[in-house]
């Protein structure tokens, strides 16, 4: 019999029951909740007259809708305030731990899970948010769900879910200077397209991946959904264990050592069979950026936007529509375009390492006058750490200001909206039409590229300034 993949091992251990010809009944270890996709689910269980089955395995935080300045004041936007208050009310009523605004543990749900040690290897984790795949960086099976599914988990700690196929993506070799985890994942998505991963759960492997820090691994797993994949995971190793050790909800002392022994077994067998296997070479990866309106439309910053005749005939109309929205010419160089906004933050790149990278780069440099830059920490802890390390001062000296934690301009549910027609270089995960505000135009890139572009005021390959 063929060996098992890491994904199979974790999934199979959580199957409570199989429905004939149907989905599995999958047990969920950790449920993360935020204000936007939960109110209808709370209302649903109330309507059924039931309570949360395992509130102790549920953690909530408001992130999508919160302002990133003046968080000590009441939220100005009435609808946002109502939704955030509703989350507080629901958590109080149903006994769910809430890290609300101004709590030292507040932040983007996918940033606080790992930093609090809630995210651990071998667990199943869900959240009503597609970037739940972030937690896969720890060797957990983590994926985004809809609100009806949120209600399922609230009611029974289980979810009905068809088992996805398995894909192995291995990347080997050393990344060259100026090339980061974000470039790796943008490269992968550009190769397999925004739908190439649909139906799959990805395992990332290879020396390039295992050389990444936990922050870098989270960036890679975070964007799995942008290839259409339900999630992505990486086998846990010493880097993982070292990151988890000592965190608030991580096992302590002898329990931690025992847990590590268990976690060490979490890897795909040598002879495991994947439905699809792809291999990439780190030497081919250079700083990447997107030029279109889905994350699969990415290229090397030094290259040109592909000419129309390089695009598959069946998708040319969509391609042209996308470039028309961006106001870009096919065949024109990517670098050198004037940038109006720079956004560093989100569950993709809002962690301390990202801010360190930006600070290190901009130290002694100056933000271009015409660029509006939003630097948004992923959590209160990241914000505090940035203050402690002197990152805040370095940023301020270079003309940048650190805001307060939240999803912010990634999806522009709050006031952090890129105005119509403006071009933003963003470290977030989606470049869809209007994603950062109606009519906004987004180019996705690494924090390093975002920092370089903020300094020069145009789309810039960071290597030219290293």
């Amino acid at each position: 019999m063929a060996g098992k993949t890491l994904f199979d091992k974790i999934w199979d251990k959580h199957v409570v029951d199989e429905i004939d010809g149907g989905p599995s009944v999958l047990y969920i270890d950790r449920h993360l909740v935020h204000e936007v996709t939960s109110p209808q689910a709370f209302a649903g269980i109330e309507k059924r007259g039931i309570s949360l089955f395992r509130p102790e395995n549920t953690v909530a935080t408001p992130d999508h809708n919160v302002p990133t300045i003046d968080q000590h004041l009441s939220i100005k936007d009435e609808l946002s305030r109502f939704q955030v208050n509703k989350l507080t009310e629901n958590c109080e009523k149903h006994g769910v731990t809430l890290y609300g605004l101004n709590h030292p543990y507040h932040g983007i749900v996918h940033v606080i899970g790992p930093e609090l040690g809630i995210t651990q290897p071998g667990l199943t984790m869900v959240c009503g948010d597609s970037h739940t795949s972030t937690h896969g960086a720890f060797g957990s099976v983590a994926f985004g769900i809809g609100t009806s599914e949120v209600e399922m988990v609230m009611a029974t700690q289980c979810i009905l879910q068809p088992k996805p196929k398995k894909m192995l993506i291995s990347v080997d070799g050393e990344l060259s200077k100026g090339v980061t985890a974000k470039d790796v994942v943008l490269y992968i998505i550009a190769k397999i397209s925004a739908s190439g991963g649909t139906g799959y759960f990805i395992e990332y492997a290879g020396s390039t991946i295992t050389s990444l820090s936990m922050e870098g691994r989270m960036t890679v797993c975070n964007m799995s959904i942008e290839s259409g994949a339900r999630g992505g995971l990486i086998a846990p190793d010493e880097t993982t264990f070292a990151y988890i050790k000592g965190r608030e909800f991580a096992p302590k002392g002898a329990d931690f050592d025992l847990a590590v022994e268990r976690w060490k077994l979490l890897k795909s067998d040598e002879d495991a069979v994947f439905d699809e296997e792809l291999h990439f070479d780190a030497a081919d990866i250079e700083p990447m950026i997107t030029y279109g309106t889905n994350p699969g439309m990415g290229a090397k910053i030094k290259d040109e936007i592909p000419a129309v005749d390089e695009i598959d005939k069946s998708t040319r109309e969509s391609y042209k529509k996308s470039l028309a929205y961006m106001g870009f010419e096919a065949g024109s160089p990517i670098a050198g375009r004037k940038v109006d906004y720079v956004f560093v933050g989100s569950c993709t790149n809002g962690r301390i390492e990202d801010l360190r990278e930006v600070a290190q780069f901009v130290k002694g440099k100056r933000k271009a006058e015409h660029v509006t830059a939003w630097l948004v920490p992923g959590s209160k802890q990241v914000e505090e750490q940035a203050h402690k390390e002197g990152i805040t001062e370095i940023l301020e000296a270079a003309g940048f200001k650190l805001r307060q934690p939240g999803c912010s301009a990634c999806l522009a549910m709050n006031d952090d909206k890129v105005p119509e027609g403006m071009l933003a270089v963003a470290t977030s995960n989606r470049n869809f039409e209007g994603r950062q505000g109606p009519g906004s135009r987004t180019m996705l890139a690494s924090p390093l590229t975002a920092a370089a572009s903020a300094v020069t005021g145009e789309v810039t390959d960071p290597r030219s300034l290293l």
Binding site: V16, G128, A155, T198
Partner: protein, 197 residues
């Protein structure tokens, strides 16, 4: 959760021959602030449908009187992006019962099925046939038979079968609810928890 039943539907269709229609287009994030499931249809395809001042954009298909019906026929990779179930709610709330495409994003597909909105995945070539038929005659009746798992163009008889998970099919045909199903399993779930500890 919907307990609405779905068996067959015969209706003209609305064509949206655009690929990679993401959930931010279906319902932009700024309209996700409601705490109930109703009313999202108003803002379905908001930024394609209305200009800044809120006036309908005449060239967008939902604003043309030519096309009506309960079936939305869309380009490849429909529903990509965010997990927001609001996208399925918006389409359903607007009045669609079926979305046809040659490829659906996973989470959208689940969300649709959980709300009595049937995603029908057809081949690229049949999708093209559908677009041609609808565009040449906007009254073209399309029939979707869930029991037989068949989608057909009524006048020409051209048809194609489609896949659906047998469990989900049963749920839709009978208006069953996943949560009721899971709640009936409570004892088994408790047993499972005990067996792990």
């Amino acid at each position: 959760m919907s307990s609405e039943k779905f068996k067959t539907l015969e209706s003209p269709a609305v064509p949206l021959p655009i690929e990679n229609v993401d959930t931010d287009q279906i319902i932009p994030a700024r309209f996700l602030k409601a705490t109930t499931r109703e009313g999202f249809g108003e803002n379905l395809f908001r930024d394609w449908r209305f200009d800044k001042s809120g006036a309908p954009k005449e060239d967008f298909v939902l604003n043309k009187n030519t096309y009506t019906g309960k079936i939305l026929v869309a380009g490849k990779n429909f529903g990509s992006g965010s997990s927001r179930e609001h996208a399925a709610w918006a389409i359903h709330d607007y009045g669609f019962k079926v979305v046809v495409s040659s490829f659906f994003a996973d989470i959208f597909k689940n969300n649709a099925l959980n709300n009595g909105l049937l995603p029908v995945q057809v081949s690229d070539s049949f999708l093209l046939t559908l677009f041609k038929a609808i565009e040449s005659n906007s009254d073209t009746q399309i029939k979707v038979d869930l029991e037989a798992q068949l989608i057909s163009i009524v006048a020409s008889g051209e048809s194609e079968s489609f896949e659906i998970n047998p469990y989900k099919k049963e749920c839709l045909l009978n208006g069953y609810d996943d949560i009721d199903y899971l709640l009936r399993m409570k004892e088994k779930i408790v047993q499972f928890e005990k067996s792990r500890s």
